[in-house]
C-alpha cells in the first residue's frame, strides 16, 4: 500500500491556474465521492487553499493511481490536461509522506511558519471523515502529520518571530515591557500602517489608547473606533509622559519631537521606559532621541530590518524543523510497511498449508494400507519441508520490519504465490474512527 500525492502550489503554479482548480469548501462531497470511485484509489482527501490544491490518496498501484488523480483534476475542473500537466507534481511513498508533513508544519508555505495551513488541512480532513473517504491509513497519516506540525511548533521557534512590520513593533514592545497589559499607546497622525499597528497593540493587551490628529474630527473618529481618547494636536506633548508607546505618522515636514522634549518627558515619568515608533516619511522624531537612556526609537527602516532578520531566523528554525520531519517520516514509513508484513506472512503460510493438506489427502486416499505411524511420519515430513522452505523468505520479510525496505518483497511474495491480502479488505472497509 502506498500513499500518493498529486497537486500544485504557489511554487509551481500562477494564481490564474490555481483559482481554476480550487475546490469550493461548501461542495466537497461530490469531488470526494468521485475520487473514491476511481478504480486505483482506496482512500482519498482534498486540500484546497488559495496557495495549493492537493489530493492525498492511498493505492496499490502508485503509477496508475497518480495518473488517475491527474486526470481527475483536469476533468473535474474542465481543463485541458495539457494546460494543467506542466504545473502538477506527484509524489509517492516516502516522498509523499515527507511532502504532507512539510506542508502541515508550514515548511512549504509562502511565508514559512505561518499558522493557517495546519487549520486548512484539518478542515480538509474533517470533510474527508464526514464523507467517509479516509480509512485506516490516511487517518493515521493525517494524525501523524498534525502531531509533526505540533512538534515543529513547540520544539522550534519557526513561528515565534514577527514577519510583518506592525507585528514586529508589537514584539519589540514585548522585549521592552514584557507584558503589554496596562500599557498606554498614543497614536499621532493617521495612516494605514499606524492604525494596523495600533490594532495589534490593542489585541495584545494594551489597555488604553490616545489619538491625536491635526484634524481633530479625524482623531475623534479614530478614538471612537479604538474606544480610546482623542486629544487636541496642540496638547499632545502634555500627555506624552502618560504613555508608554508612541506611534507617529504625521505629514509634518520637520521633526515634531526632539531629544530636549523627550528628556523632560522622561523626567516626568521617572525614567520609565518608552518605545517610540516613527512610521512617517519624512521622519517625525529626531533620531538623536534614541541616544537617551530608557527610550527606544525605531523608524520604518529599523522595523523592516527587524522583519528581515526575523525571516532569516525562521529559515534557521526551518532547518531544525526539517530534522524533526525526517525523524517522523522514518517512523511512519516503517509502520506503513509493516502494516502488510504480518498479514502477508499469515497468508503465505496458510496458502502452503492448504497445498500440503490437499496433497496429503490425495496421497492418503490412494494409499489406504498405511499404518497410523507411517501416516504421521509423512505428515511430519511434509510439514518440515514447508517450514524449511518458508524459513528464509519469512526471515527476509521480517527483517523489513526493522527498517530496511521490505515493500518490494511483500509485493513479490504476493504476486509469486497469488495471495489474496486480508489487509486489502481491511483498507477497503473504511473505518474513520481509527
Amino acid at each position: 500500500m502506498k500513499i500518493i500525492v498529486v497537486g500544485l502550489s504557489h511554487k509551481t503554479t500562477p494564481v490564474e491556474i490555481r483559482e481554476r482548480v480550487a475546490f469550493s469548501p461548501t461542495a466537497m462531497e461530490r469531488p470526494l465521492r468521485e475520487l473514491l470511485a476511481l478504480p486505483a484509489i482506496i482512500e482519498a482527501m482534498i486540500v484546497s487553499t488559495c496557495n495549493r490544491v492537493e489530493l492525498y490518496a492511498t493505492t496499490r498501484q502508485p503509477e496508475e493511481g497518480m495518473l488517475q488523480l491527474r486526470r481527475f483534476l483536469a476533468q473535474y475542473h474542465q481543463l485541458a490536461p495539457a494546460e494543467l500537466e506542466p504545473h502538477l507534481y506527484d509524489l509517492k511513498g516516502e516522498e509523499a509522506i515527507r511532502h504532507v508533513f512539510r506542508v502541515a508544519a508550514s515548511l512549504d508555505s509562502m511565508v514559512v511558519g505561518e499558522p493557517q495551513i495546519l487549520g486548512q488541512i484539518k478542515t480538509a480532513y474533517s470533510y474527508a471523515t464526514e464523507y467517509k473517504t479516509v480509512g485506516l491509513i490516511l487517518n493515521r497519516f493525517l494524525h501523524k502529520a498534525f502531531s509533526v506540525a505540533k512538534r515543529v511548533r513547540t520544539e522550534t521557534e519557526i513561528a515565534s518571530n514577527a514577519v510583518s512590520v506592525s507585528f514586529a513593533a508589537v514584539e519589540l514592545a514585548r522585549k521592552i515591557f514584557g507584558s503589554l497589559e496596562g500599557k498606554t499607546v498614543m497614536l499621532i497622525g493617521a495612516g494605514e500602517m499606524c492604525e494596523l499597528a495600533a490594532r495589534h497593540f490593542l489585541n495584545n493587551g494594551v489597555s488604553s489608547i490616545m489619538v491625536t490628529n491635526r484634524t481633530f474630527e479625524r482623531a475623534v473618529k479614530l478614538a471612537e473606533e479604538f474606544s480610546g481618547r482623542a486629544v487636541q494636536f496642540e496638547d499632545f506633548p502634555l500627555h506624552l509622559h502618560q504613555v508608554d508607546i508612541v506611534l507617529t505618522s504625521t505629514g509634518a515636514p520637520t521633526f515634531i519631537l526632539g531629544p530636549k522634549k523627550m528628556e523632560e518627558v522622561l523626567r516626568q515619568r521617572k525614567n520609565k521606559p518608552m518605545f517610540l515608533i516613527d512610521i512617517a516619511v519624512p521622519r517625525d522624531i529626531d533620531p538623536k532621541v534614541n541616544d537617551l537612556s530608557n527610550i527606544y526609537l525605531y523608524d520604518v527602516d529599523d522595523l523592516q530590518e527587524v522583519v528581515h532578520s526575523n525571516l532569516k531566523e525562521r529559515q534557521k528554525e526551518a532547518k531544525k524543523a526539517e530534522a524533526i520531519v525526517d525523524q517522523e517520516i522514518g517512523q511512519f514509513h516503517r509502520w506503513l510497511e509493516n502494516l502488510e508484513v504480518v498479514p502477508t506472512i499469515v497468508a503465505l503460510r496458510s496458502r502452503l498449508e492448504e497445498i500440503r493438506r490437499g496433497e496429503l489427502e490425495k496421497t492418503f486416499a490412494s494409499w489406504r494400507d498405511l499404518e497410523e505411524k507411517e501416516r504421521r511420519a509423512v505428515e511430519a515430513m511434509s510439514a518440515a519441508i514447508i517450514n524449511k522452505v518458508l524459513h528464509h523468505p519469512i526471515t527476509v520479510l521480517k527483517r523489513g520490519q526493522n527498517g530496511t525496505e521490505s515493500d518490494g518483497y511483500v509485493d513479490a511474495v504476493r504476486t509469486l504465490f497469488d495471495l489474496q491480502m486480508p489487509g486489502a479488505d481491511q483498507a477497503d472497509h473504511l473505518d474513520p474512527t481509527e
Partner: protein, 277 residues
C-alpha cells in the same frame, strides 16, 4: 571524607548543567534547557548533602577557609536562583547563574580543603547566623549582578537594533529590571542584618561592636553603594541601565569584600585568624 566525594559529584553535575544551558542558549533547543534545569536541581541536592556532611565532619558551619566559603557561596547562589526560577521561569537566567556557580566551585576545588580548626574564641551561635545572612545577601546580589549583565546586553541590542541569537532568548527589559529591584529589596535587608549580627557577635567575642577591620570597612562601602541604589530607585526613579550598572559595580565591590579582603588584606576576617592561633 565523604563530603569531598560528594563535592566532586556535585561539581560534575554543575559542569553538565552549564554545558546544557549553554547548548540551550546557543541552539535554542528547549529540551536541553529542561535537562539543564534537572541537572542543576540534582547538583543542588547533592550540594546540600555535601555541606551537611561537611558540617557533621568539621562540627561548624563550613565557611572557615576558601574551599568552604566558595562552595557555600555557590550553594546560596543556586538556591536563590531557584527561588527566582519559581517566580519567573527563566531558563536563560540559569544559563548565566550556572556558569558562575561552576566557576566558584572550580575555585573551591582548587583551594586546599582543610580540615580547618575554628578559633575557639569565635565559637558561638552568632557565627552561623552571621555568615548565613551575609552569604544569602551576597547570593541575592549575585543574581542582581547577572540580571544587570543580561539587561545591558539586551539594552545594547535594542538600542543598536542589531540582534544576535541571544536576543530571542533574553527576557524583556522590564522583567530584568524587576529582578534587579527584587534582588535589591531582599538583598539589602539581608546584608544589613548580616552586618548587624556581625557587630553583635564581635561585641560578644572581643567586646567591641566595630573595629574598622578591612572586611568591615569594605562591607560598609558596599552597603553604602547598595543603599545609594535603593534610594535612587525609590526617589529619583533610577532604573534600567543605571540600576543595572550599579548592580554590577556593587557586586564587584562585594566580591572584593568577600574574597579580596580575605586573601589580600589581613584582619579578623582573614581565614587565618578565623582558624585560630
Amino acid at each position: 571524607m565523604i563530603n569531598l566525594v560528594l563535592f566532586k559529584i556535585t561539581l560534575l553535575f554543575y559542569f553538565a548543567a552549564t554545558a546544557c544551558y549553554l547548548f540551550d542558549v546557543i541552539t535554542r533547543r528547549d529540551q536541553s534547557g529542561k535537562v539543564a534545569r534537572w541537572l542543576l536541581i540534582g547538583g543542588f541536592a547533592l550540594h546540600c548533602a555535601t555541606l551537611a556532611a561537611r558540617f557533621v565532619e568539621v562540627g561548624h558551619t563550613p565557611v572557615t577557609n576558601l574551599h568552604e566559603s566558595l562552595s557555600f557561596f555557590a550553594w546560596t547562589i543556586v538556591g536563590i536562583y531557584f527561588l527566582f526560577d519559581l517566580r519567573y521561569r527563566l531558563t536563560v537566567l540559569g544559563a548565566f547563574v550556572c556558569p558562575l556557580a561552576l566557576v566558584l566551585m572550580i575555585g573551591s576545588s582548587a583551594a586546599p580543603a582543610g580540615p580547618p580548626e575554628i578559633n575557639p574564641l569565635l565559637q558561638s551561635w552568632w557565627f552561623p547566623v552571621h555568615v548565613t545572612l551575609a552569604f544569602l545577601g551576597n547570593a541575592v546580589f549575585a543574581v542582581a549582578f547577572i540580571a544587570g549583565i543580561m539587561y545591558l546586553l539586551q539594552e545594547r541590542m535594542l538600542k543598536s537594533k542589531k540582534f544576535s541569537g541571544l536576543f530571542y532568548r533574553l527576557p524583556s527589559l522590564e522583567t530584568l529590571d524587576s529582578i534587579n529591584y527584587k534582588c535589591l529589596s531582599f538583598g539589602f535587608p539581608l546584608m544589613t542584618m548580616g552586618i548587624i549580627t556581625g557587630a553583635v557577635w564581635a561585641n560578644s567575642a572581643w567586646g567591641g561592636y566595630w573595629r574598622w577591620d578591612p572586611k568591615e570597612t569594605w562591607a560598609l562601602i558596599t552597603w553604602f553603594l547598595y543603599a545609594a541604589l535603593l534610594h535612587g530607585r525609590l526617589t529619583v526613579g533610577w532604573r534600567g541601565r543605571r540600576a543595572a550598572i550599579f548592580a554590577i559595580v556593587g557586586f564587584v565591590c562585594l566580591l572584593f569584600t568577600f574574597l579580596g579582603v580575605n586573601l589580600l588584606l589581613s584582619g579578623e576576617h582573614s581565614f587565618k585568624s578565623l582558624q585560630g592561633p
